[in-house]
């Protein structure tokens, strides 16, 4: 109570001015959004082709008809990216550790790590899926997988492990070398320093970009369909081909969004938390 008595007129005046400014800003934002989005909607809805597009892309009956099958296919996507994500996390970390190691003895392996990243990050994912999906079975070697789902998963793992390795590496490099010195000074080995001091800090810093790569991976699972597996996109495409209606593709798109958007929100939150730290 004593404090409120101390609030000066000057302060009240300044706060009122700030509130006026904020209100004006909000008003401008609302009006401009309505104008732009409304204009865009009006432009599309009044286009000559809209009635046809509405029927071929947004047909409710087609949606209801296709959705169960597309959803069933989507479970395959979910299974693939769950397995691939775990494999990518482990493999990416291994490559990053090899690439950041300075031990002269592992020079050849370090070279291999560099080649791995250059190669698998540099080749389009779809090409990699084709090459592995058709190339590996053609070798006719016993013990190698021949199932398209597995081969596609391997191709995605190769590609994304190269990206993720670089994300990890950036994180490891961002931890100041004095932390490594301090870890050695308390008597830890290089490996223990990595495990208990460097990596915990590094992973925290790159958690958001790592999840960002996973958002990307969850969509790219659809590319596996090019070598056969009936996942959501492929099934949607088949139904679309039968009925000459694109609505099943919209159903598939919604399913991908259902997993990528929540993950994107998690990424946002982590980015925010990181900024506060």
């Amino acid at each position: 109570m004593a404090e409120s008595a101390l609030i000066s007129d000057r302060r009240l005046e300044r706060e009122a001015a700030k509130r006026r400014q904020a209100r004006r800003g909000q008003a401008i934002a609302v009006v401009s959004s309505v104008v732009v989005l409304g204009g865009l909607a009006a432009w599309i809805l009044t286009s000559p082709g809209w009635p046809v597009v509405r029927e071929t892309f947004f047909s409710w009956s087609e949606f209801k008809n296709a959705f169960p099958e597309v959803l069933e296919g989507f479970w395959l996507d979910v299974k693939i990216f769950m397995v691939v994500e775990v494999a990518v996390l482990i493999l990416g970390l291994a490559i990053a550790l090899i690439r950041t190691s300075r031990a002269p003895a592992i020079f050849p392996i370090r070279m291999l790590g560099t080649v791995w990243v250059d190669l698998f990050r540099g080749v389009p994912v779809i090409l990699l899926i084709y090459l592995i999906g058709f190339g590996v079975p053609a070798l006719q070697l016993n013990g190698l997988p021949t199932e398209p789902v597995v081969l596609g998963g391997i191709a995605l793992t190769l590609s994304y492990s190269a990206y993720v390795a670089e994300v990890y590496r950036a994180g490891i490099d961002s931890v100041h070398h004095s932390q490594h010195d301090a870890a050695l000074a308390v008597g830890l080995t290089h490996g223990q320093a990595m495990r208990h001091v460097i990596l915990p800090q590094a992973v925290r810093r790159v958690a958001a970009p790592l999840l960002n790569d996973f958002v990307s991976l969850q969509k790219d699972v659809a590319l596996i369909s090019t070598i056969g597996p009936l996942e959501a996109y492929r099934i949607a495409q088949i139904i679309q081909g039968e009925n000459f209606n694109y609505t099943p593709l919209i159903a598939a798109a919604l399913l991908y969004l259902a997993v990528t958007v929540p993950l994107a929100r998690v990424v946002d939150r982590m980015g925010g938390a990181g900024a506060v730290r």
């Binding site: 004095s178 932390q179 050695l184 308390v186 008597g187 223990q192 208990h196 915990p200």
Partner: protein, 251 residues
Amino acid sequence: MSAAAPVLEVRGVTKAFGTRQVLRGIDMTVDEHRAVALIGASGSGKSTLLRCIDLLEEIDDGDVFLDGEVITDPAVKPVEIRRRLGLVFQAYNLFPHLTALQNVVLGDRRAHGFSKAEAEERGRVLLARFGLEGREHDRPDNLSGGQQQRVAIARAFSGRPRALLLDEVTSALDPELVGEVLAAVRDLKAEGMTMVIATHEMSFAREVADEVAFLHEGRIVESGPPERVLEQPQRPETRRFLSRLLEAGRI
């Protein structure tokens, strides 16, 4: 005291970073329970010498002995040596993702083989000893500079090192926090800890050190009891250094 065996011996140590010669032949002996203060201008090689002793830098020539055993031999495992020494850094270098207690406990658990319970008990006792009771679960960014440096001293001391190396442990602190850190060092000295203390605090060097060594351009140009080196310096380099500190109001 003088009959005690040397804990640390530095013999003819040289070290260059590229073309920059930082240490040009250092000889130094630190007997058990004794404290040697390294003084000298920034860049005179104090930190490098401490890092060389803790095997964080590889020396070019000479040798370092710990308890009479050569430690600068390629056959010696640096990890084993570092477990017998403690090093406190100028910038604390605490592990920011760990609490004060976890910082102290990490070495005991992973390098010295204590169980979690044992290590934590020891860590708690040590933190309390340095006036950090109740701060065990704070992370470094919630501690003041003085508190962080005391955690760092506890961390370096927790492995019961044969010698403690202190690298300008008060240089990064606000003036009003220097005292609490120096008190911790004084406490360890009273317990008989063998120490090498690189410092800019001349009054502290005089109080705690048994010997002061003045480093100039990679050489120890003068050493001896603190009263003699600080009050009746024999060498012109030492006199110049001390008079500059006097002008800056640091003595």
